[in-house]
C-alpha cells in the first residue's frame, strides 16, 4: 500500500503533446477515478503509471520511489484490463498464480494467496476452469483476483466494466467497492462512464483533452463544477446550457428569451455567459416567475422520475419532474430553477463564474 503522486506529468508523441501536465496526489488507500470522454488521455495516463507508456516529462511517484525509469514489474502495481487479458490456455488458478510463480513465491504461499483472493471474489468453485468457460463478469473477477494475489502498492483499472452488460456492471461496481474495502489498496480507476466515477470514487479527476479540468470528491464536483465541460460531463441527464447576457444584479437574460435569477453575484450587463441548469433543479412554476417557457416535445417516464423535454426558443431543455407528473406533449410548461443552483460560465473560456 502506498501513496501515489503525479508531478507535472506530460506525454507527447513527437511534437504532439497529448497530456499537458497533470499534478495531484493520491492518498494511501484512496480510490481515485479518472473520468473523461474517449481520447482525453485518461488511459494513457494510467498506462504511464503502469509503465506501459513512457513518461515524456514530469515524475510519477509510487510509495517513495520515482518510477519513471522502472519496468512495469518493478513498480509494485497490478492492472485490470478492459478485455480482461487472461491467459486463455491457463486455468483460473494458474492465471492468478502466474505473477507469483514468476516472482518465485513458494508453492503453498501461492496456494494460500490464490485461495484467499478466490474467497474474496467468490471464485473458489471456478479455479479449475479455463477463461473461455467463464462469463464476462467471472472473467473480470479473475482479472481482479490476479491483481489481488500480488498484494501490490496500487491497483490500476483500465475501463474494467466496459465490456459487460448494464446489469452486470452494477453488480461488478459493488464487487469492486467490496474488494477495495477488504484490501484497502490505493486504486486508480479509468472510465468514461460518469456513473461509475460518481459511485466508486473517493475523489475523481475529470479529464478533457489532456488536461485535468477538475479534481475533487464526486459530490463536490457535482455541486461545484469548475468548468462548463465538467458541468456537462458529470450528472445524468446532462446539464442544460443556455446562452445569455448579464442583466443587472442576480439576473441573466437568456438569448432565447426569459430571465434567469441566479445567486452568483453581479454579472456585467451585456457580458456573454452560459447559464447551466441541471434538469433536477428545474421545477414547474407560475407563468409570472417562469425563466423557461416552452411546449413539451417529448416525455420520458423512468418510473421514479419523468423527464420532460421542453423546446425553449429553438433549444431543448430537459427537466426532471417527479414520477407522478405527466405533462401532455404539446402543452406549454413554465419552469424556473432554484437561483442558488444556477451555474454561470464564461461564454468565451468555459470557466465558472462564481461569487
Amino acid at each position: 500500500m502506498a501513496k501515489l503522486a503525479f508531478r507535472d506529468v506530460r506525454k507527447s508523441y513527437g511534437a504532439h503533446e497529448v497530456i499537458h501536465g497533470i499534478t495531484t496526489d493520491v492518498d494511501d488507500g484512496e480510490f481515485v477515478v479518472i473520468v473523461g470522454p474517449s481520447g482525453c488521455g485518461k488511459s494513457t495516463l494510467l498506462r504511464m503509471v503502469a509503465g506501459l507508456e513512457e513518461i515524456s516529462a514530469g515524475e510519477i511517484v509510487i510509495g517513495d520511489r520515482v518510477v519513471n525509469r522502472l519496468e512495469p514489474k518493478d513498480r509494485d502495481i497490478a492492472m485490470v484490463f478492459q478485455n480482461y487479458a487472461l491467459y486463455p490456455h491457463m486455468s483460473v488458478f494458474e492465471n492468478m498464480a502466474y505473477g507469483l510463480k514468476i516472482r518465485g513465491f513458494a508453492k503453498d504461499d501461492i496456494k494460500a494467496r490464490v485461495d484467499r483472493a478466490a474467497g474474496i471474489l467468490e471464485l473458489a468453485p471456478l479455479l479449475e476452469r479455463r477463461p473461455r468457460q467463464l462469463s464476462g463478469g467471472q472473467r473480470q473477477r479473475v482479472a481482479m483476483g490476479r491483481a489481488i494475489v500480488r498484494e501490490p502498492a496500487a491497483f490500476l483499472f483500465d475501463e474494467p466494466l466496459s465490456n459487460l452488460d448494464a446489469k452486470l456492471r452494477v453488480q461488478m461496481r459493488f464487487e469492486i467497492q467490496k474488494m477495495h474495502r477488504q484490501t484497502g489498496t490505493t486504486s486508480l480507476y479509468v472510465t468514461h462512464d460518469q456513473v461509475e466515477a460518481m459511485t466508486l470514487a473517493h475523489r475523481m479527476i475529470v479529464m478533457n483533452a489532456g488536461r485535468a479540468e477538475q479534481i475533487g470528491a464526486p459530490m463536490e464536483v457535482y455541486a461545484n463544477p469548475a468548468t462548463q465541460f465538467v458541468a456537462g460531463f458529470i450528472g445524468s441527464p446532462a446539464m442544460n446550457f443556455l446562452p445569455g447576457k448579464g442583466a443587472g444584479a442576480g439576473r441573466v437574460a437568456l438569448d432565447a428569451g426569459g430571465i434567469v435569477m441566479h445567486a452568483s453575484g453581479t454579472v456585467d450587463t451585456g457580458k456573454s455567459v452560459v447559464v447551466g441548469i441541471r434538469p433536477e433543479h428545474l421545477a414547474p412554476c407560475s407563468a409570472a416567475d417562469a425563466a423557461i417557457t416552452g411546449s413539451v416535445e417529448l416525455v420520458e417516464q423512468l418510473g421514479a422520475d419523468t423527464l420532460a423535454h421542453v423546446s425553449h426558443g429553438g433549444a431543448m431543455v430537459v427537466a426532471r419532474l417527479p414520477g407522478g407528473s405527466m405533462p401532455d406533449v404539446g402543452t406549454t410548461l413554465t419552469l424556473a430553477p432554484d437561483p442558488a443552483r444556477v451555474y454561470l460560465f464564461d461564454a468565451a473560456t468555459g470557466a465558472r463564474i462564481a461569487t
Binding site: 519496468e71 512495469p72 502495481i77 492492472m79 478485455n83 487479458a85 486463455p88 502466474y98 505473477g99 490476479r146
Partner: protein, 282 residues
C-alpha cells in the same frame, strides 16, 4: 441446403465416388504391382489382383534394395528421408516462430525492412538459387551430410509470415499483462505465445514435414553416396536405365513405403491441423 432430392444426393455421391476412384486407382495398381513376382509384373496386361509376394518384396527392398538397379537398402533411405523431413520441419518452425516473435514484439531499427526482406524471399523458389546454394554447401564440405540436406531448406518466409499473422491476433493486453506479472520477453514467449501457437505449430509441422519428405531436386544434388539417398531419390535410382529391365514390383514396394510416413503424419495430426488453420478464438 435442407432440400431433400434423392437424385441429387445420388448424383453427388456418384461424382465423389468417381473422384475417389480416379485418385485411388493408381495407388491400387502400385500396391498390386508391389505384391507380384518379377515375371507377373512384366506380363501384359498386368494382373489386377494382389499377388503373394507382399512380404518378400517389401522385405527385400528394405534390406538390400533392388538387384538390377540401385542396391541401396530402402530401410536406410526411409531413415534418411525421415531425418531430413523432421529436421526441416522442426528447424523451420523453430527459426520462423522466433523471427516472427522478434518482428511482432520487439521494436528495433530496420524492423520493417527485415520483415520485407523475409517477405520478398517468399517469391524466390529453391530452384532459382540452387547453384549458388550448392556452391556454398559444397565449399563448406556439407555434401553427403544431413546438415547439407536440410540447412538450405530451413529458412522459411512462409512460416515466418504465418506466425507473424497469428501473433498479431494475440491481444496486446496479454503481452502487457505478462509484463506487469513480471515475465521477461522469453518467459512470455515460452509461457504464453508458444502454448497459444500449439495448433498453428501443428498445422505448419504437417505442411513442412510433407514438404521436406517430398524434396527431390536438392537431395539429388547434394547426395552422392548411396547411404545418404532419400527414398524419393532411391525410387528414381531403382529404375534402371539402358537395356536393363526394371524390377517394377520392387520400385512399387518402395513407392508404397515412401507414401506411408507423410500420410501417417497427416492422418494423425489432422484434427490439430484443421484447428490450426481455422482457429480464431483467442
Amino acid at each position: 441446403m435442407v432440400e431433400h432430392r434423392p437424385w441429387r444426393a445420388l448424383s453427388g455421391h456418384l461424382v465423389l465416388l468417381l473422384g475417389i476412384a480416379v485418385v485411388v486407382l493408381p495407388i491400387y495398381v502400385a500396391f498390386v504391382a508391389s505384391t507380384l513376382t518379377f515375371d507377373q509384373v512384366t506380363t501384359v496386361p498386368m494382373p489386377m489382383t494382389p499377388g503373394t509376394q507382399l512380404v518378400k518384396n517389401y522385405g527385400d527392398v528394405i534390406a538390400h534394395g533392388s538387384t538390377l538397379g540401385s542396391r541401396a537398402p530402402v530401410g536406410r533411405m526411409l531413415w534418411n528421408s525421415f531425418v531430413m523431413a523432421m529436421l526441416i520441419a522442426v528447424g523451420k518452425i523453430a527459426i520462423s516462430i522466433l523471427s516472427a516473435f522478434a518482428i511482432v514484439y520487439f521494436r528495433f531499427p530496420l524492423r520493417r525492412t527485415c520483415f520485407w526482406l523475409i517477405f520478398v524471399t517468399l517469391m524466390l523458389p529453391v530452384e532459382v538459387r540452387i547453384f549458388p546454394t550448392y556452391k556454398v554447401v559444397a565449399d563448406l564440405g556439407l555434401i553427403d551430410t544431413y546438415a547439407g540436406l536440410t540447412l538450405p531448406l530451413i529458412a522459411s518466409a512462409t512460416a515466418t509470415f504465418l506466425f507473424r499473422q497469428f501473433f498479431m491476433t494475440i491481444p496486446d493486453e496479454l503481452a502487457e499483462a505478462a509484463r506487469i506479472d513480471g515475465a521477461g520477453p522469453m518467459r512470455f514467449f515460452w509461457d504464453v505465445v508458444l502454448p497459444l501457437s500449439r495448433t498453428s505449430i501443428a498445422a505448419l509441422f504437417v505442411i513442412m514435414f510433407v514438404y521436406g519428405w517430398n524434396q527431390y531436386l536438392w537431395p539429388l544434388l547434394v547426395t552422392t553416396r548411396e547411404d545418404m539417398y532419400t527414398v524419393v531419390i532411391g525410387i528414381k535410382r531403382m529404375i534402371a536405365g539402358g537395356d536393363q529391365a526394371t524390377e517394377w514390383q520392387l520400385v512399387m514396394a518402395t513407392a508404397m513405403m515412401a507414401l506411408l510416413p507423410p500420410v501417417a503424419v497427416v492422418v494423425l495430426m489432422q484434427r490439430l491441423f484443421v484447428r490450426g488453420l481455422v482457429e480464431t478464438e483467442k
